[in-house]
Each structure stands twice: as C-alpha cells, then as structure tokens.
Symmetry: C2
Subunit: 391 residues, 2 copies
C-alpha cells in the first residue's frame, strides 16, 4: 500500500463546503450583499405581506402560487391531514412525561408518522407520492408540537380546527383560544420567512438523505435532527434568553450591552454566513415586533432589540465590518410577544422549514444523484495487527 496515501490525497479540502455548489435550484435565491431573498423569483417582502403560509408551501412544492381553485384544494387537503394517530399522541405524552427536549419529541414523533402513512408501499422514486407524504408531515407537525406542550403542562391536547389556517390553527391548538388577527398574521408571516433559505445545514441534510431514495419521513426526520443543533436552529432561543437577562437586570439596554461585551460576553443574533447586510427577514420581523407592541401596549421587547441593534451597528461599528442583525435577532422577541414558550422556537422553525426541506427533496430527486463525498486520509498508513492477548 505504498502509494495509497498519495492516491487518496486530493488538492483542495472543502471543510464546511463553503462556496461549494452542490445543486441547481428554482426554490430560493439569496443576495447577501443586497440583503435580498426570493422564493421562486418572488420578493420575500411581497410574499410575507401578500400571501399566507399555505400559498408559499404551494409555491415551493408546485413551482407556482395557487389560483383560487388550487388554493381551496390545497388548504383543504392540509387541514384534513392535521390529526395524528393515537399511537403518535401516546408517544408524545410519554416524551412530555420524560421532560424530553421539544426538538427530540418532534423528531421522534415525525419519525413514527411513517408507520401510519396510508401509502406505505409507495415507490421511492414516485415524486407525487413523496409530495403527498411531505404534505402530511407538514400538516401534522403543529398538531404534534401543540400536543407536546399541552401534555407537559398537564393539559389535554386540543383537536385541530379545519376552519383555521395553518398558523392560526397552531396558536389555537397551543392555547385553546383563537388568536387575534395581529397574532395570527404575525405568526403566519414568521412561518413564511423561515420556509426556505438555500442549502442551510438542515435542508442539505434532508437532501443527502433523499439522495439515497430514502422517503420523505426519513428526510424530514433528519432535517429536524440537524436543525436541533445550537449552531443552526437554536439561535433565536439564545437571543430571547439574552433579552430576558437584560430585562432581569433592569438596566438601560445600551449600558447593559456595553457591559456584557466588555465582560467578554456576546450578543447572539448578529452575522450570517450568507448576508453582509441586514437580513431582509429581520427587517420584516422588526416591523411585526412593533405591530405587536402597539397591539399589546408593551413596547419593551421592541425597544430592547432596536436599541441594541442601533448601538451595535453604529457605536460598535459592526455595520462597517459587514455584520448585521439576522432573522433570529427579531424572531425570538416576536415569538415571546405571541406568548410562545421559548423552547418551542426551534420546533417552530422546523414547522416552517419543513416546506423548504420537502421542496428541495422533490427538486433533488427529480434529477437524483447519490451524495457521497470523500475524506482525505491522514491516519497511520500501515499498522501491524497484534492480537488482544499480546497487547
């Protein structure tokens, strides 16, 4: 094996795959310099203010916004798929009793959904079946999450209501009360804003899984697993915990932030691998944060975030270094103002991003190629084996 090391050594090491193009997509495009995000060519601002989450799912999965008849059929099929099997609820109840992390509960419950799928023998290469499975999963995730939160609070799950949209129905199942219009619209917008964002780690994970023709349950379960990581889906929770620490201190937000930075602490929610300017999703969520503040009469959280942003961007000169608020900086306080428990922020991210996962899986499988990279071997070349008894 004298030439082995040479043979497997290749010139470029792409750790993190930064800048490596692995696929062509029609789903979304990010202009990190301009701070623009589009889904299938539509500006995120237009979709966020003019469409609902179901329309955006239709766009990501079918390649176009639905007309009236398509919208009616699509939303009805989504609403019909909301209930989950008793066996899934049993698992969710047990995991709530075990005080499981919400992402672990969601991952496990979504994984078990496959056992109740009405098309267990679908051809793995049948993309229509894959779309139906993806739609079922997407419809059921809110039901699972709301049930988990109610179980752990000693309450019974609230059955889904087919007359409510995806966003409003989740808030209804979570609280047992129909949300007001500002809350429902804000949550719907948050779902739209998080639905797709190129090949982030969870979307890429779903694609790698799908490239083996494992079904959509496998791909989405794996996507949830990746999103659970603190370097990916956990950041909005970090932001809110930081804001709560500030609130607890009773100090002025700028003084507090300055002290924290001087003490070596950090402020989460700034910087993104693909944006050099303010994340367009942060702009939209900041507006919703203000709308919520006006609706509830409590401007505290909105003021904290805007004060910190202004201080960091100008006085700390983050802006000059190309670091700006990302989506997580505003989503945390928006969810908080909606009354959503902090440890559900990442699962809510999954509730939205499943749209992108399913969309990218369908797109990739339509022109599939097994994803199998290489590693450069840097270990010992040739070790002589010695049996255990002689070691």
């Amino acid at each position: 094996m004298s030439d082995l090391l040479k043979k497997v050594t290749r010139p470029t090491l792409h750790r993190g795959l930064e800048g490596v193009v692995v696929d062509e997509t029609e789903l979304s495009v990010i202009d990190g310099e301009a701070g623009e995000l589009r889904y299938h060519g539509y500006r995120i601002e237009d979709l966020a203010t003019g469409a609902d989450f179901e329309e955006v799912l239709h766009l990501l999965w079918h390649g176009h916004l639905p007309d009236a008849a398509e919208y009616e059929a699509f939303t009805r099929s989504m609403a019909e798929e909301r209930p989950v099997a008793e066996g899934v609820l049993d698992l969710v109840r047990e995991l709530a009793a075990q005080d499981a992390e919400p992402m672990a509960a969601l991952r496990s419950a979504v994984s078990t959904l496959s056992a109740y799928d009405p098309e267990p023998d679908a051809d793995p290469e049948d993309l229509d079946a894959a779309l139906r499975k993806g739609r079922r999963i997407t419809a059921k995730i809110p039901t699972i999450l709301a049930a988990f939160d109610r179980f752990r609070n000693g309450a019974a799950p609230v059955d889904p209501r087919a007359d409510l949209g995806h966003a409003a129905n989740f808030l209804y199942m979570l609280t047992g009360e129909e949300p007001d219009e500002v809350a429902a619209e804000t949550f719907d917008m948050a779902l739209i804003l998080h639905a797709d964002h190129g090949l982030n780690a969870s979307t890429f994970t779903a694609m790698v899984v799908a490239s083996t023709y494992a079904d959509v349950y496998n791909a989405v379960t794996a996507g949830i697993a990746a999103l659970a990581g603190p370097w990916h889906g956990g950041a909005n929770q970090d932001v809110m915990e930081t804001l709560l620490a500030l609130d607890e201190s009773g100090e002025d937000p700028v003084t507090w932030t300055k002290d924290r930075l001087e003490a070596g602490g950090r402020i989460p929610g700034f910087g993104h691998r693909v944006y050099e300017v303010k994340d367009p999703r942060a702009v939209l969520l900041q507006e919703r944060s203000e709308a919520l503040a006006e609706s509830t009469g409590d401007r505290k959280w909105y003021d904290y975030t805007t004060s910190i942003e202004a201080f960091l961007m100008d006085e700390q000169a983050l802006g000059e270094r190309g670091i700006a608020p990302n989506v997580d900086f505003y989503s945390g306080s928006v969810y908080y103002q909606l009354g959503i428990p902090i440890d559900l922020y990442t699962p809510i991210f999954a509730m939205s991003r499943v749209g992108g996962w399913v969309g990218h899986v369908l797109e990739y499988q339509a022109n599939n190629r097994l994803i199998r990279p290489r590693a450069r071997y840097v270990g010992p070349e040739d070790q002589a084996f010695v049996p255990l008894a002689e070691r």
Copy 2:
C-alpha cells in the same frame, strides 16, 4: 436585482459531491484500485479475523485497539448499556403492531432514546459526553431490533445477556437461543466489515447534523434515515431477494442469470463508486458463506453466489469493465444462512455502521465547521406578485 443571477453563478457544479474532499480522517481509507480497506491503518482482513466488533469500536472511537484492561472496561460498559427503557419498548411494540418497516422502527426508537439519556444537559461541545452517548446508542440498537422482531412475531422480548459479546448477544436476543460458534463469529465479522467505509451517504449525513452541534442522538437518527434508502443500505436485501427468486425458479444459476439479463433484469450486488476491483469485504464474507455452508451442510446459497459471480465476471466481462462484487453481494446470503429475517439486513447494517457514524462525528466535532454548501439558482429571476384574489 439585475446582477443577482450572475453573482450566485459559480463555475463548477458538484452534484453528488463525487471526488469532493470535505474532511480529513484517521478512521478508514479505501484503495479502490487495489481493493483494500483499512481502519486506522489496520488491514480489514486482520481486524475481521483477529479482533471482535467491540475492539473495532474502541479503535474507531479512541484511535487505538484496546489493551486487556481497556477491553474489559469497554465491553463491560457496552454490556451494561444494553437494556432500554420501558417507554422505548412500548414504542417498539406499537410500531411492530403497526407493521412498521424495521428501519422506521429503529430510527424512531433510537430517536426516543435521547429522552432517557442520563446526561440530558451535557454541553454539546463536550466530546467525552458525545462518546458516552454514542456508546449507549450502539449498545442499545441490538436490543431494539431484536425486541421489534419478537414483538411482530407475537413473542416477548428476550433480555440481553451481559456475558455474551455484542454479536452473540444480538443473535441470542433475536432467537432466544445462544448461537453456535460459527454463527457468532460470522455475525461478529459482518459487523466489523460494515463498521466504517469513508464518507458514504449515511456517515456524511451524521457529520452534517453533528456540524450544527446537534447531539449524537440527532446524528445517529439521521444516519439511520439515510441508510434506509434503497440506493444505500437496502442493497443486501435486494441481493437476497434475487437469490430467492433464482432458488424458486429451480433453474441452473448461470442459465437463470443469463435469462434475467436478456429480459432486461439486473443482478444487484455488483459495482461500487469507490471500488474498481472486488470489494475486500466481499472476499471475507464469501469465505464465511462457505464456512456456514460447511457448518450447516447446505451449500446452495454459497454455490449460487459463486456461480453468478464467475459468470458475470468472466463470461459477461464485468471484470474488464471494472465492475466487481460488492459487500452486499455476499452479506445477504450470509445473513440468510444465519436465519436472520431479510428485512432486518439493513437495520443490521445500521447496528454496525453506527460505529463509523459515532467515530466520524467525534472526529469532525473535534475540529468543527458548520456544513453549509450553496445551490446555483436557476429559477425565474423576478416575478411580480399578484394577490390570490386576482390570480
């Protein structure tokens, strides 16, 4: 956004990441031209015939083969971790009752294990904790699988036996009877041979998940999801189903194979993206297939496989085209001769490959970099939004 398409267009598209080096590793190296595979510098032949699966796990996770004291401590800790929580068994029973696919049951049960982990608050960057979690999962997978198979056959699970090795204990839990030496050794060798193999799709999936600092439960659950795909872990099952079809026909294996190819059918178990010659694991499993044939007195399956291989390699000239038997071509019939149900072959692959998944996760996280590639946007550049009511 006039320059957007230009900005996101990059020269090379790496679909499938073929030949793209994404990491450095000390775990395993494959010489596809020579048909060599080494774990940490040790020839796979030496490990397969001189070590047991637990020694190989120690090698992959700790970077060296254990001495006597390390072996004693490692095997004891593995044996102690075999039992699973009652809640996990409840889920496995329910999934067996639902006639779930074994890989779906394994994926779901492994996912729920995190809720019972004794270190739920471990720092995600603590690699020692990650190793302990990986060891727990690896120890429990055979218990889950054997219980699933027994539940679906209406039998009660058999408790693990701490005095048996990993391989022998699985066969014991599956059948309720202690396996003979040939069976235990063969199964142990099969586990060793499948434990690691570079950055195949499931190992890479586990790494992408781990790159977000999601914990090992997330990484392994996602690895199982990828392995479930028919283009990855499902191939040995395909081989066995092909051999059963041949057996059913009552025909001569060469005639049958010739007819099948002429009718446009294919023979699974040949060809591999990284081997140009016979997979060294296939060589070893072929020997075990013969040993099993001698042990049971039934040479049928061994003869089928060797006859088909000789025909395809020589008469069909596959060998000249660089296509040769892969590991799946012989593992299927070996498992069949061990009396293992065909739909457990892929889960057994997971039972072994979890060693590589955990090893690569530990290695990658020791020098972590979030994995986030790019896609080239090829969709519509700028679509004017029209509200639903006007579509």
